[in-house]
């Protein structure tokens, strides 16, 4: 059988960086070949070479046995290579059909658009994917998951023989992931070769045939996906084995209740949510995407308005109408989207760490004490082990894990007792993840009260002393953390759609 794609001895250099060193990769028709590696390992660079966005410096590239040299994405598409980017590149104000056929709209005479044909053809593609999306729906009004599926439909409309998927499930919930996997199976049976990039190990087990691991721009190995243990793949990625210490749930029953939320409500999104949080405790929030966890966090933090509900901090009721009020009450919120909501990425590490505590460095006349700020920033860089050349480095140049630490540093400096982490490891690679876990545990041991929102069940179970589960805006139960809790128990609560169901477990 001819290989669909063969890459051999690929070299790529950028100014100051040797991004790919003698890398190889191949793809058979009808297989899912996962490409794994930490951030910066060279996965994206390799795939950009394959899809014509970058040109290789050296090496051989064959498609269906023939040596090729695509000079741009257009060339690659002509060779039958399609790519679905991690970030959505849809036009929000156009309809689903218009997005799928952008640049290739069916036309009538005199350049008039044939909307009927456009919608019909889009409908056909959606139908072939078992999707019920109205071709005339405006994309911006659809959920992120649906937008992702439209992006996939767009790639499929080119009838590619090679499809590159870069973290396609990042925004999908379990049901939608299952749908996507059906589509992938169908493509496989049609002989399409799929390159699958993902950080989620369980997905690889479910969908991939082979796994190729890259590390630091070099090729490590290609192994069969089903037979190779996850720990071995991780070890190949990070160059060593990561030992996970079993979770020790500390006894916090006598500790002070730091945060008490009662009957928090807003429309359908947050329905009558009550819970409490003790000093030194890590409370996990589990649930499917759209269950209302982020909404609860933002409501407590005053980022969004609420219809009803009370918040008590250290036993005293507080009125929180804005993040400004929340921070004064000692609540810090670390958003799931660091770049949009957590960091001023164009500013340096020092300014970002100081951002929530400027008054600490300000004289009566409003003049900043730069040396103090520098000293404190360096202290946090040291304490949190933030890898940056200096405190004057712009934050956008740091890796995801280090950016997250900068945000943590910002809230530690503000001396918040209550820290809400929303998807703290999203977009962070495996090695840095365990560092973030260790940091959260150290913070809790230090007496901070911590809420962790995560869509990854292993993460929730790895960290939480107690696990609150939400479904469709309601808190459906609170489970004890530790070794005894199972994914099944959590999923049962996360899918408890019956509105009349009484909460289970202890709610205090």
């Amino acid at each position: 059988m001819t290989k669909l794609v063969e890459l051999n001895g690929i070299e790529k250099r950028f100014p100051g960086v040797h991004a790919l060193k003698n890398v190889r990769f191949d793809l058979h028709p009808g297989e899912v070949h996962a490409l794994m590696g930490e951030n910066g390992a060279g996965k994206s660079t390799l795939m950009k070479i394959l899809s014509g966005i970058y040109q290789r410096d050296e090496g051989e590239m064959r498609v269906k046995g023939e040596s090729v040299n695509p000079q741009g994405p257009r060339d690659a598409l002509d060779l039958g290579i399609g790519i679905i980017h991690q970030e959505l590149s849809l036009m929000n104000d156009l309809t689903a059909a218009e997005n799928v056929f952008i640049g290739r709209e069916p036309r009538l005479s005199f350049g008039r658009l044939d909307d009927a044909a456009l919608n019909r053809q889009a409908e056909e593609i959606f139908a072939s994917m078992n999707l019920s999306i109205d071709p005339k729906a405006v994309v911006g009004e659809l959920t992120i998951a649906r937008q992702q599926l439209i992006e996939i439909a767009k790639a499929l409309s080119y009838r590619p023989q090679v499809l590159i998927m870069d973290e396609p499930t990042a925004a999908l919930n379990d049901a939608e992931i299952a749908e996507l996997f059906v589509i992938i199976q169908q493509l496989k049976s049609e002989g399409v070769g799929i390159v699958y990039i993902s950080h989620k190990m369980d997905e690889l087990k479910r969908i991939a045939d082979r796994v190729t691991v890259l590390r630091d721009g070099t090729y490590v190995a290609t192994v069969p996906a089903k037979e190779t243990p996850v720990s071995e793949i991780i070890a190949m990625m990070v160059g060593r084995e990561i030992k996970e210490a079993p979770l020790q749930v500390p006894d916090t029953s006598s500790a002070e209740t730091v945060l008490k939320v009662s009957r928090l409500s807003r429309g359908q999104e947050i329905q009558d949510v009550s819970f409490s949080l003790r000093k030194g405790e890590i409370l996990g929030f589990a649930g499917l995407m759209g269950a209302g966890r982020t909404e609860v966090a933002r409501a407590i933090f005053g980022a969004d308005p609420i219809d009803a509900g009370e918040v008590e901090v250290h036993g005293k009721p507080v009125r929180i109408n804005s993040p400004h009020d929340a921070v004064r009450a000692g609540i810090g919120y670390l958003s799931e989207d660091r770049k949009r909501f957590g960091l001023a990425t164009g500013m340096n590490v020092r300014a970002n760490i100081a951002l929530a505590s400027m008054e600490r460095f300000t004289s009566a006349l409003g003049v900043l004490r730069e040396p103090d700020m520098k000293a404190v920033a360096e202290q946090y860089i040291d304490r949190l082990d933030i890898r940056t050349p200096s405190d004057a480095q712009e934050v956008r140049l740091l890796s995801g894990g280090n950016q997250q630490k900068v945000v943590v540093g910002k809230w530690l400096l503000r001396d918040c007792d209550i820290l809400i982490f929303d998807e703290p490891t999203r977009g962070i690679d495996v090695g840095a993840k365990s560092e973030i876990y260790a940091l959260l545990e150290a913070l809790a041991a230090d007496g901070k009260a911590i809420i962790v929102i995560s869509s990854e069940l292993p993460e929730i179970m790895r960290l939480s002393h107690r696990i609150a589960v939400m479904c469709e805006g309601r808190l459906t139960g609170v489970l004890p953390g530790g070794a005894d809790v199972t994914q099944t128990q959590i999923m049962a609560l996360a899918t408890a759609r019956d509105a009349a169901m009484a909460p289970v477990g202890e709610l205090t």
């Binding site: 910066g40 921070v327 164009g346 929530a356 090695g431």
Partner: protein, 338 residues
């Protein structure tokens, strides 16, 4: 765990000419270099250009636009825009006229009044933008028209002269330096421009207001979610810009010895042009006062130089427009590279 560290390109030793080019690629240096080239070019073309009297002319002509541009720099760094600075300048001049000529109050009150009213106007824009969430372009467009109208209403569409307050024209035309160094009779207006620039630069770089100005332009939502009262700071920044515009209003009224209520439209665009030429990003988060000052000087030198060379006024406008496009293009190229 070195594997996940971001590869940071090392600074390699480059040949000198490459270093010079990459230095010149820095917009501020680029702007400064163009200023130097313009000055050298004009002085070669006309021996009159570098005469002290002409240099003073250029600086004097730049002072008003320079001060307005400094005001608008603050707003632009927050990611906003202020279209009202031109008519606001006129409005503050008219207020000074009302206080000094109509009410016959002392000079100091006129000065404080103009600056205070400027701050108040800026605060209004700030409230519209921060509290009512009206886009800055629209809010300040409205303010521009409101202030233009109010200037005409208050003055009865007639100029207000400052003949009763002889010392008023000293603000701009007198020369404190000239009294000490008779060979360099730089007028006070120029001195005020540089003083405003120094103060503004200090505020922008060394105070919490300045830091938030950059932070708002860099990522406003992140600043809000850091617990900063972003609305209040934004209003303060617009108010500060308004106060600086008040100084501009005093400068122009003092130079003309009158408040001309019909004047003002078009000044805002000149000011924005100076800011842009000076390398401040219209998308916010980046910018310097030095750059704005150089931008304003480039425009002043250009207008004056072309006039000295007897180029028709119409063509001067064409050249200025071309320079703006060139400057922004150069800035984009630089950013693309980095």
């Amino acid at each position: 765990m070195s594997t996940q560290e971001m590869p940071i390109p090392e600074a390699k030793a480059k040949p000198v000419w490459l270093q010079l080019i990459s230095l010149a690629a820095h917009q501020r240096v680029l702007a400064f270099a163009s200023l130097v080239v313009l000055v050298i070019g004009f002085s070669l073309a006309s021996p009159n250009f570098l005469q002290m009297s002409n240099v003073i002319n250029i600086l004097q002509a730049t002072s008003v636009n320079g001060v307005l541009a400094i005001a608008v720099t603050f707003v632009i760094i927050t990611g906003g825009i202020d279209l009202s600075v031109g008519t606001m300048m006129t409005f503050t001049a008219v207020i000074a006229g009302v206080i000094l000529t109509y009410a016959g109050m002392p000079l100091l009150l006129g000065v404080v009044g103009a600056i205070g009213v400027g701050a108040l106007c800026g605060l209004c824009s700030g409230v519209f933008v921060a509290k009512l969430k009206i886009p800055p372009f629209i809010a300040t467009l409205g303010m521009m028209l409101i202030l233009k109208g109010l200037s005409l209403v208050i003055s009865g569409t007639r100029p207000i002269y400052f003949n009763d307050t002889p010392s008023f024209s000293e603000i701009s035309l007198g020369s404190v330096i000239g009294e000490v160094f008779p060979s360099a009779p730089f007028p006070n207006g120029v001195l005020i421009l540089f003083a405003v620039a120094l103060a503004a630069s200090y505020i922008l770089r060394r105070t919490v207001l300045g830091r938030y100005t950059f932070a708002l332009g860099s990522n406003e939502e992140a600043v809000r979610l850091s617990g900063v009262n972003t609305d209040a700071w934004k209003m303060a920044i617009y108010a500060l810009a308004g106060a600086i515009v008040g100084i501009g209003g005093l400068l122009i009224a003092s130079r003309l010895n009158s408040a001309q209520p019909a004047l003002g439209l078009g000044y805002e665009l000149e000011a924005i042009a100076a800011v842009v030429i000076g390398g401040t990003s219209l998308s916010g988060g980046r910018g310097t006062i030095v750059g704005t000052l150089i931008g304003a000087l480039i425009m002043g030198v250009l207008t004056n130089g072309l006039r000295v060379l007897s180029v028709a006024q119409e063509w001067q406008t064409v050249v200025t427009g071309a320079i703006i496009i060139l400057a922004v293009y150069a800035d984009m190229m630089r950013r693309k590279k980095s």
